[in-house]
């Protein structure tokens, strides 16, 4: 048996799904978190029912990609659990009445039931059940309240018998139902609502946004550096380093396989950053240096997501983004991309038009540095002074904006206007935040570790075959002539395709000036994304889109690298 969870966006379907199946999914307090669909199983008596979390939709006439997925899936269901936001009964019932025409057995879950009390809303669930003629169960998926009752009522699902109606007939019917089952008492604005309104008005909203961003970066750095300084570095120094030295001794201290496995000895010691062995640099960079920042980043982002802040930010920044051919909602994939480009590019699915998705995905892969890259840039350039790190960031922001303005002119198609629901603020439950952080961290490790280990292996072999020399000869004029970097940096930039972290380590070994480090970091950040995001980019945009994106990337990198070099020399 296939059971579909259907409802408006942001009514808690994903939390509901998690409760039914025990499958952990990422749920956030903004519409459109679930774009593809997620499957899980629920034991019903002797049978295992398949539960499908369908992307949220307002109507059964699709108006965006996520809604298309929802409508295509509907005929496959044997039963529908229609999840409603009880605090928005009227709007939610429109979909319910449309669903009732489909001839599929259904039950109705009045989710977010706990919030109705705070909001002065009283709903007569029994009366609603009588009017709809299908089981109606109040639930609070986040806390689990009412979930047992919901499961118990699945067997009592009924096929509603209603004639096909027009939109206005459905709205009229919705109006009649709401009038009979719902009473709303007046109450005062809560502080959350006041804060919500303040953060969406230009005069108060922009300072609030600036303060939130500043606080976010400060907290991310504090947590990231704390984890590195107090956890990963001591662990490596006390435990891993001695073990690796023993292994190095056992392998004879040098030779091809020695260098592949533990890396080259530097002054008789193994260096976790510069030795480049699979078990030293290959493990330390992702686990020791990058993972702490990834954890810190996703923790803060997860909090902002569940709080419900991101859609407000989308409204504030919509004006600027529209000039770049995308709309405010694009800020969500872009922010996600600052953790790891892969989930960022995947999240472009929440955008409606192909054109927008191309522009946002291309901008992410070129101008949005992932946590790994940022950690490396800070490590490499930070020694020269914070002002140089700022130049790298400022350049990338300018590139992001200017490239967006240009892409808006050259990419065909149109960009629809912003239209989103602004969710109320919620203080996120710790359990949900922890679960989300865990899933994202595991996801990052799954993506990053194989790529890093494969990369270091391939590079070592290619090095032995002298492949890099030929490419380096070809690219050297650009690197030294236009970017003002020594020819030896060419290797580093090319290796950057497979391993950005290693490339930055190599640049660090070249005794570059501060100016050269800045140019090198920017070029490396803009130049090819790592293999994992490259593959996802191709999958999301198709071959044509991928080629277009690569051309933009190459041109932008050469132009920006040269310009930055000229400016830095003149300054």
């Amino acid at each position: 048996m296939k059971i579909l969870l259907v409802g408006n966006p942001n009514v808690g379907k994903s939390a509901f799904f998690s409760r039914l199946t025990g499958v952990r999914v990422i749920a956030s307090n903004y519409p459109g978190t679930t774009v593809g669909f997620t499957k899980g199983y629920l034991k019903l008596g002797d049978e295992a029912a398949e539960i499908i979390d369908v992307p949220g939709t307002y109507t059964l006439e699709p108006t965006c990609k996520a809604e298309e997925v929802a409508c295509e899936m509907l005929p496959e269901g044997d039963l529908v659990i229609n999840v409603l936001d009880a605090t928005n009964l009227e709007r939610n019932l429109f979909l319910t009445l449309q669903l009732m025409e489909k001839g599929i057995p259904m039950i109705v879950a009045l989710n977010i039931w706990d919030d109705t009390k705070h909001r002065g809303i009283h709903i007569d669930a029994e009366k609603l059940e009588e009017l709809l003629e299908v089981p109606v169960i109040p639930t609070v998926a986040v806390s689990g309240e009412g979930m047992k009752e919901a499961v118990a009522h699945i067997s009592q699902a009924k096929i509603p018998s209603v004639p096909a109606r027009t939109h206005s007939e459905i709205w009229a019917e919705v109006g009649r139902i709401v009038e009979q089952v719902q009473t709303v008492t007046h109450r005062h604005h809560t502080w959350r609502e006041r804060l919500g309104d303040a953060s969406i008005q230009p005069l108060t909203g922009i300072p609030i946004a600036a303060a939130i961003l500043l606080a976010s970066f400060t907290i991310i750095r504090l947590i990231g550096e704390g984890l590195i300084g107090y956890v990963s570095e001591p662990l490596v120094e006390k435990l891993w380093q001695p073990l690796m030295m023993d292994l190095s001794g056992a392998m004879g201290g040098s030779g091809f396989w020695h260098d592949v496995v533990v890396g080259e000895l530097i002054d008789g010691e193994l260096d976790m950053v510069e030795s480049f062995g699979m078990l030293t640099t290959g493990l330390f960079i992702p686990f020791g240096a990058v993972l702490p920042y990834v954890i810190a980043f996703y923790l803060v982002l997860g909090f902002l997501e569940d709080l419900g802040y991101l859609p407000r930010m989308a409204v504030l920044i919509d004006n600027l983004l529209h000039r770049m051919g995308i709309h405010g909602y694009s800020i969500i994939p872009t922010l996600l991309g600052m953790g790891c480009n892969v989930p960022g590019i995947l999240a472009t699915r929440i955008l409606e038009s192909r054109r927008e998705r191309f522009i946002v995905a291309t901008l992410i892969s070129i101008a949005v540095p992932c946590a790994a890259l940022q950690a490396m840039v800070i490590g490499l350039v930070g020694d020269e002074g914070i002002q140089y790190v700022s130049i790298v960031y400022a350049t990338l922001i300018v590139v992001w904006i200017v490239l967006g303005l240009i892409l808006n002119r050259i990419v065909k198609g149109f960009t629809p206007e912003l239209l989103i629901e602004i969710p109320p603020y919620h203080l996120p439950p710790v359990r949900i935040m922890a679960s989300k952080l865990w899933m994202r961290t595991i996801g990052f490790l799954r993506e990053a570790i194989p790529v890093l280990l494969a990369g270091i292996f391939v590079i070592t072999v290619l090095y032995a075959l002298n492949v890099f020399e030929h490419i380096a000869d070809f690219a050297a004029p650009v690197v030294s002539g236009l970017f003002g970097l020594p020819e030896a940096a060419t290797d580093a930039l090319i290796i950057g395709f497979l391993r950005k972290d290693m490339a930055i380590g190599m640049l660090g070994g070249l005794d570059l000036t501060a100016h050269q480090l800045v140019v090198g970091s920017v070029v490396l950040a803009m130049f090819f994304p790592c293999i994992a995001s490259f593959v996802v980019l191709g999958r999301e945009l198709g071959l044509k889109g991928l080629l277009g994106s690569i051309i933009v990337m190459l041109v932008a990198t050469v132009v920006v690298g040269s310009l930055l070099n000229l400016i830095m020399q003149a300054a």
């Binding site: 405010g328 629809p416 989103i420 602004i422």
Partner: protein
Amino acid sequence: MTEKRRITAAQMKAGQSGWVVEVGKGRGMRRVEAMGLRSGKRITKVSGMFGRGPVTIQIEGTQLALGFGMAQKIIVEVT
């Protein structure tokens, strides 16, 4: 007795309320209606971004942010 005027949601001031008398046609406007912004509803404008930016509107328990062009197609009766 105050006089009733018809203006667009884009012309409303932040904090001003009114009754929706017409939701125009066009791209995305069906979705606007499906999201609950329909003729006969009482709405309050929460904010409008400067420079023809998005307009945020409160309808009962829901807040919607919509593009300036869409807000211009929503006719509201205010007093």
